[in-house]
């Protein structure tokens, strides 16, 4: 029960910030896909960079465990391409569709119905996919520091600096 309340509170905070950042709107999401408005990239990448530092600190202090998904090239590449087509048509992603509905953009409701249908279809074909696509290029649960064989604190600053350079460029170009 406590864990469900944690989920709700975390969601409320995140939904509040998503709305304040103006990142859950169709126009913003399509703006990013059309490379004309980088608002959601700024938001997402800042979140990722801050979390990256925090999560590895927690891990080093023994306060958290990483949750690593297996790298399966077949699933990630095909899934990514298919997701991109759907995202471009819908203009909301799974999490932001709930947020979009929350700020009254109710076309997201049709998207949510579509996503429930898509999940149901995937559940039907999962046994076949598991034996085919999900066996193509399976590298298991790997991380970048592990593959490169160096400590994560050498890699994290590279990402942080790369992100800051990118942000500076966005601001210069008025994206």
């Amino acid at each position: 029960m406590t864990i469900l309340i944690y989920g709700l509170i975390t969601g409320i905070l995140f939904g509040f910030l998503l709305q304040k950042g103006r990142v859950i709107r169709y126009d913003k999401q399509l703006g990013a896909l059309r490379l004309t408005d980088m608002t959601i990239v700024k938001f997402m990448l800042t979140t990722i960079l801050v979390s990256m530092v925090g999560v590895y600190l927690l891990k080093d202090l023994g306060l958290a465990k990483l949750s690593i998904k297996p790298t399966i090239l077949g699933g990630v590449i095909l899934g990514g391409l298919i997701f991109g087509v759907g995202w471009g048509l819908l203009g909301y992603c799974p999490g932001t569709s709930a947020g979009a509905l929350g700020e009254g953009r109710w076309d997201a409701f049709w998207g949510i119905l579509g996503m429930l249908t898509g999940a149901a279809i995937y559940a039907e074909v999962y046994p076949t996919i598991k034996q085919t696509v999900l066996t193509w290029g399976n590298y298991g649960k790997i991380t970048l520091p592990q593959v490169l064989g160096i400590n994560h604190w050498f890699i994290i600053p590279v990402f942080v600096i790369g992100g800051l350079v990118l942000f500076r460029w966005f601001e210069k170009k008025g994206l």
Binding site: L4, Y6, T10, G91, C93, G102, G111, G114
Partner: protein, 132 residues
């Protein structure tokens, strides 16, 4: 007011605060942000209303049980958080056709709804395939 003239917080500030919320969530609850598994669980819950025996035997619904968990509440929370932020700042708009869509494809709610639905089907299939 056009969507793009409606300024909220800086995406860097809102994004950094979201990062802190994510760290606290991992620290306190051991939970990482995610949303798409919730759609699988919800589909399973809906299908269970019609044919519980079939759902109980399906491999994907055994892997992702049709139950309400942390992430399900997280996604419900996103809806509530966005509702609170938009209604308290006057940026809540009841609308079915986004500005950018209307400028290109016209004001039809049916057309927009149909494409949103199809887009949703494709997007979720891809998201699940990539396990994301």
């Amino acid at each position: 007011m056009k969507e793009n003239e409606d300024k909220g917080w800086s995406p860097y500030i809102a994004g950094a605060l979201s990062g802190i919320v994510s760290i606290l969530s991992i620290w306190i609850a051991g939970k990482f942000f995610g949303a798409s598994t919730t759609f699988v669980r919800s589909s399973g819950m809906i299908e269970k209303l019609f044919d519980p025996e079939r759902v109980a035997k399906m491999e994907y619904f055994i892997k992702e049980l049709p139950i309400i968990d942390w992430q399900w509440m997280f996604v419900a929370g996103i809806f509530i958080g966005s509702l609170i932020a938009s209604t308290t700042s006057g940026s809540f708009r009841w609308k079915a056709v986004p500005d950018m869509w209307e400028a290109r494809f016209g004001p039809s709610k049916v057309k927009r709804g149909f494409v949103a639905f199809i887009g949703g089907v494709i997007a979720m299939f891809g998201a699940r395939l990539a396990d994301g």
